[in-house]
């Protein structure tokens, strides 16, 4: 089933009297359980595309069918609901609430979804356990390392069982080793059947994906399936 279907998407910003075409004409299709990397130099429109795919923004032109639903015409509140239930965000700067502990951060999307307290707590704990943070659930972000913070963010993205995981430069603020650990985690999630969309400008990060979409000047320059390399598991075995 097609999870994401973009048809002739354009995004035009009005900067004073000048029109800026961040996206000119993008059409693409992403199936369930695909692992896609979106690449491009800065100014290529990849952030704008990510915002549109993530339902944070709406396109100026074209249609966006997400899990069979047309989201290009939705209002703020409808988009909020889609983001809450169907999209798991992982950001470069983690974007955790600094004053809340890991558990509460992971619980937050479930609070907005109206999940009862006991179930919510259970699911949040499970999600943290799944990313290997069972012993850190009451720690606040500033008591965690960068890698651990990103794991909390991933747990938060996963806890609602979304249709896609949208990761924007997830290793951008991490050292290489920690970055590789996080990428390994994404690989595991992919193997478990998740659909992952990775936005990055790092070639070696994009290589984890099975498909790379390259953007340039608001257009798709290249959309290729890459031969999947054999990626070692967490523990280094194959």
């Amino acid at each position: 089933m097609s999870v994401i279907n973009l048809e002739h998407i354009a995004k035009i910003y009005q900067l004073g009297s000048e029109e800026v075409k961040a996206l000119k004409d993008i059409s693409l299709n992403i199936e369930q359980n695909e692992y896609v990397a979106i690449m491009g130099p800065s100014g290529s429109g990849k952030s704008t595309l990510m915002n549109i795919i993530g339902c944070l923004d709406t396109p100026s032109k074209g249609s966006y069918i997400f899990t069979g639903v047309n989201v290009s015409e939705m209002d703020d509140n409808e988009l909020a609901e889609i983001r809450n239930k169907e999209i798991g965000f992982v950001f470069q700067t983690f974007n955790l609430l600094p004053r809340s502990n890991a558990l509460h951060n992971v619980e937050l999307p479930l609070i907005y979804a109206g999940v009862p307290t006991s179930e919510r707590r259970e699911r949040a704990k499970q999600a943290l356990e799944n990313v290997g943070l069972a012993d850190r659930i009451y720690h606040k972000p500033n008591e965690l390392s960068g890698g651990q913070r990103q794991r909390v963010a991933i747990a938060r993205a996963l806890v609602t069982q979304p249709s896609i995981i949208l990761a924007d430069e997830p290793t951008g603020n991490l050292d290489t080793k920690t970055g590789e650990d996080i990428m390994a985690l994404f690989n595991d999630l992919f193997k478990l059947g998740n659909t992952i969309i990775l936005v990055t400008h790092e070639e070696y990060i994009a290589e984890h994906a099975a498909r790379i979409i390259r953007l340039r000047d608001g257009l798709i320059e290249k959309d290729e399936n890459v031969t999947k390399r054999v990626i070692p598991d967490h523990n280094g075995s194959i």
Binding site: L56, F89, P109, G114
Partner: protein, 412 residues
């Protein structure tokens, strides 16, 4: 529904955390609310106290009473000089009136003189001495701590006996045992035959029986003839409140007859009622109310602006947080609710502090007024705080709610 509940709970948790992180700021911000709530609660407590004291005072002197006097007690259309030129009401008038008036259940003459009172150890410079007859007690609801009022014989034969108001007794005999003791009024010895219960009716001013002594009217004329107001007052008690107006009508008729007035002459006396006191009290209450409402209104307004300001700051500071919350699914209503809740919680905090101050103030007021903070003024304080919070929090919360998630996330 459950959604709303979780969001409210989340909002409360966030608010409390935000307040905890900025304790000083929160308290300073709520200063206006604190003063506003303090003013409104203190005001209503004071008004309630005056009201209770007044009711008590009227009750102690009899609420269905009329007072026939040369003077009109409260705002009258008759000019002062005209009343001054009226003939005094004397005992002869009273005796005729008593015989002719059929409706009252009791009547008594009274005359007031201001005298110093002494015991061996203590002395009071100025005390209102009411001279009256034994019938006086039947025109009032006064009750006794000990002893009795003077008898018919004592009053008819102008004996030197005295009944003390509770406050006077306390001052002259701080150690108690006043009954059968001797006091000297302007050098004349009097025997204490009774002490009144505390009537607690300070609002009655000079009428407050706690601060008076009562002696037979003949005795007053005997010793202090030239130190009275000259004219006596006739206390008339109606059987019940429905009968007040017929008793008044009759009293006017009888008095005209007693004073020998012809058709063309106007009344040369006034029929006073305690109701007139009420309008005097209302003036006091009115001043308190105006002052209270002014202070409350002004400080709540200033407070609301302060809250609004601090909430705008808070929204700005937490732009990133708002972006995160929106990205993971908070809709406009949720964000709106979160910040309004926060404003309401801050105001409620101010309300509680104001209430606490009002409780302390009321303990002070309690020394003068028999009252305590009423539940309804507590409710009022809480409602005022919450409403102020919601009103002043709305604009900042709305700004937060309509933030664009993309911009908010990018904010550093």
């Amino acid at each position: 529904m459950s959604n709303l509940f979780f969001e409210l709970k989340e909002g409360l948790i966030i608010s409390l955390r935000a307040i905890r992180d900025n304790k000083v700021r929160a308290v300073l911000t709520t200063l206006g609310i604190i003063i506003g709530v303090w003013a409104v609660v203190t005001m209503s407590t004071a008004i309630k106290g005056i009201d209770i004291a007044f009711q008590k005072g009227v009750a102690s002197l009899g609420s269905d009473n009329l007072y026939i006097d040369k003077w009109a007690w409260f705002n009258s259309d008759i000019p002062w000089w005209k009343m001054r030129n009226r003939r005094n009401i004397d005992m002869e008038d009273y005796n005729k009136f008593k015989d002719l008036a059929k409706l009252p259940i009791a009547t008594a003459p009274s005359v007031i003189t201001r005298q110093g009172i002494k015991t061996r150890k203590h002395s009071l410079d100025v005390v209102f001495c009411t001279g009256t007859t034994s019938d006086y007690i039947n025109t009032t609801n006064l009750t006794f701590q000990e002893g009795r009022f003077f008898s018919n014989t004592e009053s008819n034969s102008s004996r030197s006996v005295v009944v003390l108001g509770s406050e006077i007794a306390k001052k002259l005999f701080p150690e108690g045992r006043s009954l059968d003791s001797q006091v000297k009024i302007k050098g004349h010895p009097f025997k204490v035959i009774g002490v009144l219960d505390e009537q607690g009716s300070w609002v009655m001013g000079d009428f407050n029986p706690d601060k008076q002594v009562f002696i037979p009217i003949g005795t007053v004329f005997k010793y202090f003839q030239n130190e009275t107001f000259g004219s006596i007052v006739i206390n008339v008690r109606a059987p019940n409140s429905q009968m007040v107006s017929p008793v008044k009508e009759e009293a006017i008729g009888v008095m005209r007859q007693v004073r020998g007035l012809s058709y063309s002459q106007e009344n040369d006396f006034a029929i006073n009622q305690q109701g007139g006191l009420l309008s005097e009290i209302d003036k006091t209450v009115g001043v308190i109310q105006v002052a209270g409402i002014f202070i409350t209104g002004l400080s709540l307004f200033v407070g609301a602006i302060g809250i609004m300001n601090i909430m705008f700051v808070s929204v700005k500071e937490r732009t990133k947080e708002i972006g995160i919350r929106k990205a993971i699914g908070a809709n406009r209503r949720t964000i709106l609710g979160q910040f309004i809740t926060e404003a309401a919680v801050i105001c409620l905090l101010g309300g509680f502090i104001g209430l606490l101050l009002a409780v302390i103030t009321s303990l002070v007021i309690n020394k003068f007024l028999p009252t305590s903070i009423q539940l309804d003024s507590v409710m009022l304080a809480i409602i005022i705080s919450i409403v102020t919070g919601i009103l002043s929090g709305f604009a900042p919360a709305y700004t937060a709610a309509k933030m664009d998630p993309v911009d908010a996330l990018r904010y550093e």
